[in-house]
């Protein structure tokens, strides 16, 4: 934390009060305003000011754990990264439907003013939108107009080590606070009304390659978050912090230490720099009090020599007790990975109908090209079906898990493996629409040449162990939106984008699937047939996932980030 400061634009009280007063147009003179701000530290005055401001303003109800559990009862709000605890990214709003979607218009645009990818999924609670931006910004907007209420800008050190840009995927909300992880590996709680820092704790040292890019998950009174840094040989972990105090309640190391089960899956001391980061948001099952959190690649990411073994719990799905962080079960998708196939996609809880056996399942479209369905009670594999081009496996083990061919390993001369290191899909969230029973995911057909390049571990420096680059074949890289039957793995429909995209997907009760593209379009698809119904050119590529909310008693808006801006769309 040396030399770092956390700053909010202006002093917090300054920004909050000034905006409230000037909106009411009561005190047009700066001198009086400044005097009043000084007075605002007085409790009596504060109470008085509230009396003046409250009528006609938003009421800030507490976002309780119960509200998060019952989020389906509040389709106007979007209270977690994936919209609910199950990870479905499905909105119960149906005002925008297959008939009227073609009339959609832009409601507002908010510019972050920063460069780099904008990967955020906003939250909306009771008319206020909360989101993160590049370089660890966070902001609150009037969800109807896009006008800002507060902004948090963090002074991040110049030598931070994110692998893939100064990105952040979003906030968690609980009580009267919003929570974010930062690129310098801190967890921060902000006052939802003002953006003021309530607490700020360092989870790890950023100089050794730790960072946070993930949207945390609020469960009970805890803020759960997973670390990034698989490219730097960190030892991955998932943390839970007390939402009120910032005190760490538990940590689960995704690479087991000496004496712990799974430790023997690492050669020698390789576990110390074993990676297995946890950089995408997990899901939560209130019925069993389990958190399902996915993990990323073992380190070095593309070289298995020196870390013989399965390398647990890299590229796995973990079922953790929410209160204690103790592991109930794990399932490893890719053992001893040498292709950077992080299993960090959002794991989506799916229940089959009673007539089909009423099973509690969890599904993941994995980066390695297979669509996995597990029993979420036991962690046992139910099915694994390819949903893109794969060349790395020809056989399955006794559990039904695809097994990596020996010849798929990177070689000195380099050879081609499909999918490439970016995977058949990547972190961008999928959606499951309970109405169609289909799972929608953005996919990519691209093979890479993997070539070994051993390098020693050096703290804080990239630790890949091999090089990879797009194969020089004549086939262009292709990108799709695919609708998959999760139980059979069958692709029901697919839409080919002009080029591969990094957009997530949203489904709504209006029968619409929303997604974006690399060319800057935001597109509404008919969820049943895959036909585009409407599109809007946003002028920047999409590296984010859409979400939906409603304002003014039921006006449905759909929001997505593109370029350096956040867009909201609705009916005219």
């Amino acid at each position: 934390m040396r030399g770092q400061r956390n700053i909010v634009s202006g002093s917090t009280s300054d920004l909050g009060w000034r905006s409230a007063f000037s909106a009411a147009n009561r005190f047009p003179f700066n001198g009086i305003l400044a005097a009043l701000e000084r007075c605002a530290t007085q409790p009596l005055f504060t109470a008085l000011a509230f009396l003046i401001i409250l009528p006609g303003n938003i009421s800030y109800a507490q976002v309780t754990f119960e509200r998060l559990v019952n989020s389906a009862k509040e389709p106007q709000n979007w209270m977690t990264y994936s919209g609910d605890y199950s990870g479905k990214r499905f909105s119960g709003l149906d005002q925008i439907n297959v008939t009227n979607a073609r009339t959609m218009v832009t409601k507002w645009v908010y510019q972050t003013g920063a460069t780099g990818k904008l990967e955020t999924t906003p939250l909306v609670i009771d008319g206020i939108l909360y989101a993160t931006g590049q370089d660890d910004r966070a902001f609150a907007l009037d969800a109807r107009t896009g006008r800002p209420i507060w902004m948090y800008e963090r002074q991040i050190p110049g030598d931070i080590r994110p692998c893939c840009g100064h990105v952040n995927r979003g906030l968690a909300i609980l009580g009267d606070k919003v929570f974010m992880g930062t690129l310098d590996a801190h967890v921060v709680a902000l006052d939802a009304k003002t953006g003021a820092v309530v607490w700020d704790v360092a989870a790890a040292d950023y100089r050794t390659g730790h960072s946070f890019t993930v949207a945390p998950l609020a469960v009970k009174g805890l803020i759960v978050i997973g670390v990034s840094g698989g490219e730097y040989g960190v030892r991955g972990f998932i943390d839970a912090y007390d939402a009120d105090t910032g005190e760490r309640k538990w940590r689960f190391y995704t690479v087991p230490g000496p004496g712990e089960p799974g430790h023997g899956s690492w050669e020698g001391d390789s576990w110390k720099v074993g990676g297995a980061p946890a950089w995408n948001t997990g899901t939560y099952d209130p019925a069993t009090n389990q958190i399902f959190w996915p993990t990323g690649n073992p380190a070095p990411s593309n070289r298995g020599e020196g870390r013989a073994g399965d390398n647990l719990y890299s590229n796995s799905l973990l079922a953790l007790n929410a209160d204690s962080g103790k592991m109930n079960w794990y399932f490893q998708f890719t053992k001893h990975d040498e292709h950077d196939w992080d299993a960090t996609q959002v794991p989506v809880m799916i229940n089959t109908p009673i007539e089909a056996g009423a099973r509690h399942l969890i599904a993941q479209a994995n980066r390695n090209g297979f669509f996995y369905v597990l029993d979420r009670t036991s962690g046992k594999l139910v099915s694994a079906n390819a949903y893109g081009k794969t060349t790395w496996t020809d056989t399955k083990d006794s559990e039904g898990r695809p097994v990596t061919n020996k010849e798929a390993s990177p070689t000195l001369e380099g050879h081609t493996v499909c999918p490439g290191a970016l995977g058949t899909t990547n972190w961008f969230p999928p959606t499951y629409d309970p109405q169609t029973g289909l799972f929608y995911v953005t996919t990519r057909d691209q093979c890479d040449i993997f070539s070994t390049a051993p390098q020693p571990y050096e703290a804080g420096h990239a630790f890949y162990g091999s090089a990879y680059f797009p194969s020089e074949g004549t086939e262009p890289y292709r990108g799709f939106l695919k609708a998959i039957d999760p139980l059979t793995g069958q692709v029901k429909w697919k839409f080919e984008h002009t080029s591969p995209t990094w957009s997530g997907v949203l489904s709504t009760a209006g029968g619409i699937v929303f997604s974006g593209d690399a060319e800057g379009n935001f597109i509404a698809f008919d969820a049943a047939a895959g036909k585009p119904l409407w599109h809007f050119q946003m002028g920047g590529a999409v590296y984010a996932a859409p979400m939906a909310f409603a304002v003014d008693d039921g006006k449905e808006y759909v929001a997505i980030a593109a370029g350096s801006a956040l867009y909201a769309f609705g009916l005219p």
């Binding site: 030598d159 080590r161 420096h461 091999s466």
Partner: protein, 295 residues
């Protein structure tokens, strides 16, 4: 974890995030002494000639440079051949250090650590890469095999290259502009794109936030009034396409208003086999392009 690691340089961070460039430090030190010190100790690679460092440099090269410059530093479709003894942007080891650290403005060459992927290579790793590149250099400056002045005549004359390609302000607009191609592509890459123009389509428009540039794809459409237009895609998305036809007319089209839309990866450039253009003639044209591109 990498998301856009492989193509990271296309989405660059502002240069303010670079480490303090050592070359500037070097320059300050040099100023403190005298200009005569330019080729003194600071100019030297501390690892020069060290075979072990060259091997480590080869691995660093694969991870950091091979995407554009090829696995063996022989260049590729995107970056120049670094085994040439004479390089356009760097002569001394210190020049090379400067280029790797800071990139080359106005080109696709990014500076170390500027693509949002952490802090980049250490100074030692950069010197290892330079040691590796030096170990791969073909010692004698490669004499162009062809006759550049005859190549120029062919380019603007009988070979019809300039009908579609522009060099130094002269020529057509349908194909890629070729003024700098001789400096940034290998001889082999140029020959290959003349003999097999469809094998790898050239990159066209690059958009700031987009992962992949537009390629020179061929497009044939039939408009609502039955007019057939054939040309090269300047840009395309799922709903629109911008085309230039052989007459250099630009057509801005919405796909849902077309009767048909067909895209092909068969290049609009005719395949120049040896019957049309002999090996000798092609070498002359390559020599011309290299002579222009090296400037």
């Amino acid at each position: 974890m990498p998301q856009t690691k492989a193509l990271g340089p296309l989405i660059r961070r502002p240069p303010g995030r670079t480490k303090f460039p050592v070359s500037q430090l070097t320059a300050l030190i040099l100023l403190a002494f005298s200009v005569a010190a330019v080729h003194a100790a600071d100019d030297r690679n501390p690892l020069a000639g060290d075979a072990k460092a060259a091997k480590l440099g080869e691995f660093q090269f694969r991870i950091n440079c091979a995407l554009c410059h090829g696995l063996g530093a022989h260049g590729g479709g995107r970056g120049p051949d670094l085994t040439r003894a004479v390089k356009k942007h760097s002569h001394s080891d210190a020049d090379m250090f400067q280029v790797i650290s800071n990139g080359i403005a106005g080109t696709a060459m990014p500076g170390n650590g500027t693509n949002g992927q952490g802090v980049g290579m250490t100074e030692e790793e950069i010197w290892q890469i330079i040691t590796y590149i030096r170990s791969q250099e073909v010692k004698a400056p490669a004499q162009p095999l062809g006759n550049a002045s005859h190549g120029k005549n062919l380019f603007f004359g009988d070979a019809n290259c300039s009908l579609c390609h522009m060099v130094a302000g002269k020529g057509g607009r349908l194909g890629p502009e070729l003024t700098t191609v001789g400096g940034s592509r290998t001889r082999e890459a140029i020959i290959d794109s003349v003999r097999n123009p469809s094998r790898r389509l050239a990159w066209g428009l690059t958009e700031a936030t987009k992962e992949f540039p537009q390629e020179y794809e061929s497009v044939t459409v039939v408009t609502a009034d039955g007019k057939k237009i054939k040309g090269v895609a300047l840009n395309e998305d799922s709903f629109s396409v911008q085309i230039m036809d052989a007459g250099e007319h630009i057509h801005l089209l919405e796909k849902d208003k077309l009767l048909s839309f067909q895209k092909s990866r068969e290049s609009a450039m005719p395949k120049y086999d040896v019957e049309v253009l002999s090996d000798k003639e092609l070498e002359d044209i390559v020599a011309f392009l290299i002579s222009v591109g090296a400037k």
